[in-house]
Symmetry: C2
Subunit: 318 residues, 2 copies
């Protein structure tokens, strides 16, 4: 089987680190051809460093990392996630600095050059705000035709948001960028809170990682402490959501064993109370989601897969 | 047990007619002190006539009916529901004109005078756009303190809308009015599509009504034909939603046997893609909906009650 060529755009971030671990552990299926950073969980420069240092920790010293947009498309970046991801984005653990340098091109430029290098083959996984993808679209409007599929962790379809009552944090970070992306692409897979908040890593999982004796897994176990501290307020138990690794899973494994109707999705980029909402046309739900002519996005609503087990199996190998 | 004093604000409307039947059949519990009409399913003048003629058909010749707002608070009325409710709002069946006249006061004026007549006692059930309620609020800003409870059929919390992907038709009809009502009242019960679309009257129920030998029930059975024609497109089977009668049920019986968290609800009255959405803060769903300080509305998400059976039992007596 040929490996999937993947560009990973992320804001690393504790759950981005989990997703990265999942991708690295699946190297027989994934050819990680590049990583971009974007402002979101952490500033773009720190996110790029985090990715590079995590790659180094796992022994992947040849994967190029590009720094992406430092500000959102229509607003200056301001970090609001310290209580979730720590001051440095990865739960304030210290990693050995990687010897490799950050690339000189931007994340958007790297994405475009990879898309042109592998036309129709490149998969894109975006687990942060969609600022880099929107920027790349501006620079290369033909991008949607060059990309095999764009998988996004973000949005909420039939469950509440996590930044506002209706907006999920990645989309809420840069609603204008997200709106532009959903207008331009028709081959999107959206992995929203509907599925990511219904799958959890528990404190037990965290301790398994921490005590695994494996360097990458140990680092994940250490950084998950603050993340679980935060999610305990959501769930009332010591566990955290599986956001970004869920998106990584579906990007690689596809959508078997999922309820994932293809529907029209638009993003609310007004200044109103719905700002940042992914408005998904789910009106067909009462009769099995008939085909929508203008559908642009497969929305993963639920899955039979035990994402926590699948993820743990992979991470414990690192 | 004392009967509930109820003002019923509606846009009659096939399911408004069902709700009216439910209220009339429950006269041992409900003192229907007045009915207002509002533009929505049909124009306000026709809606008032429909209510009056239906009352007459059921032998209720003393219930006053007031005509309400002919236009929405910020837009001219234009009927878009002929394919759902027929040209005359009640499935194009003909009723004997009631001898009683429409009141000279408006629906908003009637609501205010009833609220002052029964301070703290009056229950309001609104099954159309909230134009009259917003108008009454303008005329009497103390209205929320005078009203025991405002029960609304409208909105959508964790399911799609029916007018747009996120907006339900009553709220979408006059988002500005709805926004004003949700800002001013903190004793709202909202009966949204979450519950009303998950309860159905079937073609079998319709035939029971049609063949009941009872005049009001027969009329309902006749008018339900076009309504079921419409809802067949939603469900894929010959059945229709139980919108307005569900709200009537909860207005009278209260919220036992319901999942109905009290949360903050705001209405999107922007011109954006979320216009008309009831934005319900359901973020507490993962740990049993903890108390929200600024909550203004109990949102009925689901119920164990078999609403179709309860409704049929009542309607078959008329």
């Amino acid at each position: 089987m040929e490996r999937i060529k993947l560009f990973f755009d992320c804001d690393t971030g504790i759950d981005d680190a989990l997703a990265l671990g999942y991708l690295l552990a699946g190297k027989e299926k994934v050819d990680l051809v590049g990583i971009g950073s974007v402002c979101g969980n952490i500033d773009a420069a720190s996110g790029a460093r985090n990715s590079l240092d995590l790659l180094n920790l796992a022994g992947f010293t040849f994967t190029p990392v590009a720094e992406g947009e430092r500000d959102y498309s229509h607003a200056a970046y301001h970090c609001v996630s310290q209580h979730i991801h720590g001051q440095n984005g990865i739960g304030d653990i210290r990693l050995t600095p990687a010897p490799r340098a950050i690339e000189s091109q931007t994340a958007a430029e790297m994405l475009i050059s990879l898309a042109r290098q592998y036309p129709g083959e490149l998969h894109v996984l975006a687990t942060g705000p969609l600022t880099n993808i929107a920027k790349a679209l501006q620079l290369a409007p033909e991008l949607p035709e060059l990309i095999a599929r764009l998988t996004i962790m973000g949005g909420a379809a039939l469950v509440p948001g996590n930044r506002t009552p209706v907006a999920e944090a990645n989309i809420a970070g840069d609603p204008q960028a997200a709106a532009a992306v959903f207008r331009a692409f028709n081959n999107i897979v959206m992995v929203p809170l509907d599925v990511t908040l219904s799958h959890k890593l528990t404190e037990e999982h965290r301790l398994q990682l921490l005590n695994s004796g494996k360097p990458f897994a140990h680092a994940l176990g250490a950084m998950l402490e603050i993340y679980i501290d935060f999610y305990e307020k959501t769930y009332g138990t010591r566990a955290c959501a599986i956001h970004d690794p869920a998106a990584a899973y579906f990007a690689i494994e596809g959508l078997n064993h999922c309820l994932a109707p293809k529907v029209k999705v638009v993003v609310d980029d007004t200044q109103g109370p719905g700002r940042g909402q992914t408005i998904c046309d789910m009106r067909g739900m009462y009769k099995g989601y008939p085909v929508q002519q203008d559908a642009n996005c497969q929305v993963v609503l639920k899955t039979d897969i035990d994402l926590a087990s699948v993820l743990m199996d992979k991470l414990m190998t690192l």
